[in-house]
């Protein structure tokens, strides 16, 4: 299964992501989830980015928070709304929203 997961929170108290399995996993950071792509806590990038997945961050949500495309982790691809739509229709079979 090709699963894309939308992550829209910064702090994740219950790591549901660990319980999801997929042949291909995509994590799309939106809303406050985009902080995972940019903000470092005590010098460390978010542990979310250690997962085995393809990562994407929505450029509009980065911009709205003053993050822009600066200091984005190397393994995160910045995409716009149209890019997310492409991912949904072309790259993944199922979607989940956390």
């Amino acid at each position: 299964m090709k699963l894309a997961v939308f992550v829209s929170d910064y702090r994740l108290t219950v790591d549901t992501l660990d319980r999801l399995t997929a042949d291909k996993l995509g994590i799309i950071l939106v809303g406050n989830g985009v902080y995972h792509a940019s903000i470092k806590d005590k010098g460390k990038a978010s542990s979310l980015l250690d997962k085995s997945a393809e990562f994407y961050a929505l450029s509009e949500d980065l911009d709205s928070r003053g993050l822009g495309s600066k200091d984005i982790a190397d393994n995160v691809k910045v995409v716009n709304y149209a890019g997310v739509v492409d991912l949904i229709f072309n790259d993944y079979e199922k979607l989940a929203w956390l």
Binding site: Y10, N32, Y35, K40, D61, R65, G66, L67
Partner: protein, 137 residues
């Protein structure tokens, strides 16, 4: 003649929920309640950003362009315009590797005379002790 001190504490990042925006809206509104007060009574207001809440103060927010919303950056500047004491926790900025270059410091373009203050958490704790009413967001 009495002074009522209000303390607003913002501990969440912006936009996902209404919480930080409500804190700023209420803090700003608190400065326009004179019509309901007895002569000589005043309301003072401090707003402090702690924990993930310091992310509200990042510069260059484009929420108005993208969401059609007033950005929290603009609301922080409006608070400064109304001489509201805006405190930002230094330890939490340091934790995120952020400096004063990354956050809202002044609102010169709005004509504000005061600036945000990056302070140790101890100073925010002291503010909380002095506040008559504390509101957490």
């Amino acid at each position: 003649m009495a002074t009522t001190n209000l303390g607003f504490i913002v501990q969440r990042p912006p936009y996902k929920s209404e919480n930080p925006k409500l804190a700023l809206t209420h803090a700003i509104a608190s400065q326009s309640v004179e019509v309901y007060l007895e002569d000589g009574d005043i309301v003072t207001c401090d707003i402090a950003f702690v924990g993930d809440g310091v992310l509200n103060c990042l510069k260059d927010q484009k929420a108005a362009d993208i969401y059609g919303l007033t950005s929290t950056e603009t609301q922080v500047k409006m608070a400064l315009l109304l001489d509201i004491n805006v405190l930002i926790c230094k330890e939490d900025l340091d934790r995120f590797g952020l400096s004063e270059d990354d956050i809202v410091i002044d609102a010169e373009e709005f004509g504000a005379d005061i600036e945000t203050k990056v302070v140790p958490y101890a100073e925010i704790a002291a503010m909380m002790e002095e506040s008559k009413h504390l509101l957490f967001f």
